[in-house]
């Protein structure tokens, strides 16, 4: 547990060690819920844009009970392969109908990763804490719905897909 984090207002942390960052272009930080249909729609719209995207875990468990499991699974994949993390992440958002455990195992095996290790890691304290760290930083930054985006530390208002497309074209 992170005893030092108050959950009170704080600036969104800039991308740093341990974050998942991909692409080149203007830097954005996105808080996403892997079980959220709006997040999946936005992700499809923006995934090919020239942006440097940092994704953070924001599972809303009460609303989507499967979400924490998916975020922990993605983080467990990242322990073995950061490239694998992105493939896994893209796949979960692209195919939300196949997110039961056997579907997750299929993905892990297709990535050529160690399934036993994945199974251990996804339930580890370190992974749970890693997901929690992102969620808490999102709460402190005022994230109150998913998807939520930030650029240069400031929240992005408006339809996120549209705003990110504009940002990418600058």
């Amino acid at each position: 547990m992170d005893g030092t984090s108050s959950l009170g207002s704080a600036a969104v942390p800039p991308p740093g060690p341990g974050d998942h960052v991909r692409g080149r272009g203007p830097e954005v930080v996105l808080y996403l819920d892997l079980g959220c249909p709006r997040c999946a729609g936005t992700w499809e719209e923006i995934t090919t844009l020239p942006l440097q995207v940092c994704v953070r875990h924001f599972p809303v468990a009460s609303r989507r009970p499967r979400s924490p499991v998916l975020h922990a699974a993605a983080e467990a994949v990242a322990i073995q392969s950061e490239d694998g993390f992105w493939e896994f992440w893209d796949s979960l958002l692209a195919d939300r109908a196949h997110v039961d455990d056997p579907h997750l195992w299929e993905r892990v095996e297709a990535l050529g990763l160690d399934l036993d290790r994945f199974q251990r890691d996804r339930r580890s304290d370190a992974v749970v804490e890693r997901v929690r760290r992102d969620f808490r930083s999102g709460i402190s930054a005022g994230v109150a719905a998913t998807p939520a985006g930030f650029a240069a530390g400031a929240p992005l208002a408006g339809e996120l897909g549209v705003v990110l497309r504009e940002l990418a074209s600058r």
């Binding site: 959950l7 809303v60 009460s62 719905a145 998913t146």
Partner: protein, 154 residues
């Protein structure tokens, strides 16, 4: 919006199960009232879900959280089930919006509450209040923690 330092207006409202709830029922604990427009609307769903995620941390600070809107008890029951909420929702249904209005959170033109938060201290005094500029904006849970932790170690 009701100002800090004012005595919190008492209320008697039915919760999602139809049980009457009054301000005195929370005596001894601080109370966060989350006024919101309407059950089942998209923005309200996001807001109440996020608060559910941090409910334990609110309760750790010796505070209770309740949602208040002009919807009926039966509607609240269905909405809570849909979102997986465990905190109470109070029905300011009849006379419509009277408690919202007493807290300065009713929007006459819209016919429902504005999205606003009120923190009531253990002695029944309003410690903090906040209203969003428009009902489309959501006050983040961080604001609740700013208010709860204000002047007191977390």
């Amino acid at each position: 919006m009701i100002e800090p330092g004012t005595s919190a207006p008492d209320f008697r409202l039915a919760d999602h199960d139809g049980n009457a709830v009054t301000l005195a029922d929370f005596g001894g604990r601080r109370l966060v009232l989350a006024f919101y427009p309407l059950d089942f609307s998209a923005v309200c769903s996001d807001q109440l879900s996020i608060y559910q995620e941090v409910l334990g941390e609110i309760e750790d600070r010796d505070a209770a959280l309740v949602g208040v809107s002009v919807d009926s008890s039966a509607c609240h029951a269905a909405f809570r089930e849909r979102l997986g909420l465990t905190y109470p929702l109070l029905a300011d249904f009849h006379p419509k919006g009277a408690v919202c209005a007493a807290y300065g959170a009713y929007m006459d033109d819209w016919g429902h509450a504005n999205r606003s938060l009120v923190l009531i201290d253990r002695d029944g005094t309003v410690a903090w209040s906040f209203a969003t500029p428009t009902p489309l904006e959501i006050p983040g849970a961080n604001l609740i923690f700013d208010a709860l932790d204000d002047g007191a170690p977390a």
